[in-house]
Symmetry: C2
Subunit: 169 residues, 2 copies
Amino acid sequence: MNTYINNIHFLLDKAVQNVVQLLYKENLTLATAESCTGGLLSGAITEVSGSSRVFGLGVCAYANEIKERVLNVNPETLRDYGAVSSQCAAEMSLGVRKISGADIGVSITGIAGPSGGSPQKPVGTVFFACSFKEKLNILHLEICAKKSRLDIRLESVRQALILITDTIS
Amino acid sequence: MNTYINNIHFLLDKAVQNVVQLLYKENLTLATAESCTGGLLSGAITEVSGSSRVFGLGVCAYANEIKERVLNVNPETLRDYGAVSSQCAAEMSLGVRKISGADIGVSITGIAGPSGGSPQKPVGTVFFACSFKEKLNILHLEICAKKSRLDIRLESVRQALILITDTIS
């Protein structure tokens, strides 16, 4: 947890501040849908005082059933591609954007480990999606499996922040 | 201050592990509804590998409109008592429990600062609620306003973990 807190501080210093400032400047609102990061992305964004101007809803949809029922992910998507897939990430980002009414929906779904990996989807496999206007940007990363669960989660938060910036810039 | 932060980290780490173990043991599931902590509680819980067995949904309802629309908080509650109130905390915990189908719903709503305080509700005012079976436990804290935004948020996470343990024990 020490590492967790120190890294949270680091994330705040840079990427989070930049994203919140960009959203202010562009007058855009954001909603988050998280699975493997469990709320760390929304936790980082809301560490910025005044972030309520640009952020209203974060959903941590940890269970598949919640992804379906709360975020409107298609059961067939989960059956055919699994929760850790570009298809699921896309539907999560579109789902949370619709529910929240935000301009931008960003999602993270992956395998933070240490268990849960497979040859096809090893630990560190993470899919991201960011929807904005007609754009739907997908990112697929294989974060080094030697990293800890916390490292994978924090790196995922950092990558999501970059994806948001790339999508709206 | 460093000693304080290190202690909080230590306590938070132990407290999260203990809560997840207790939920395993009692075969109970938990859902979280967060405002001022912005997802840090769900982020802490999901740092425990295997927490998906006991945790399915976390909602960060940062905006009042989201508290109403996603968590079914009564608009009159927000109008009459404000979002930072025992009444709102109670409805958030009941709302997220209902949506998720979890055994336990826990909520946090408060003023993390540095702005947003008032003489009636200074920075550091935080309300918590935990609902389980017929029980609805409410906790109201005034966390020292000299603490930083992050300190107030982390102390709130720690207090929510204690409240969960107290409610189900």
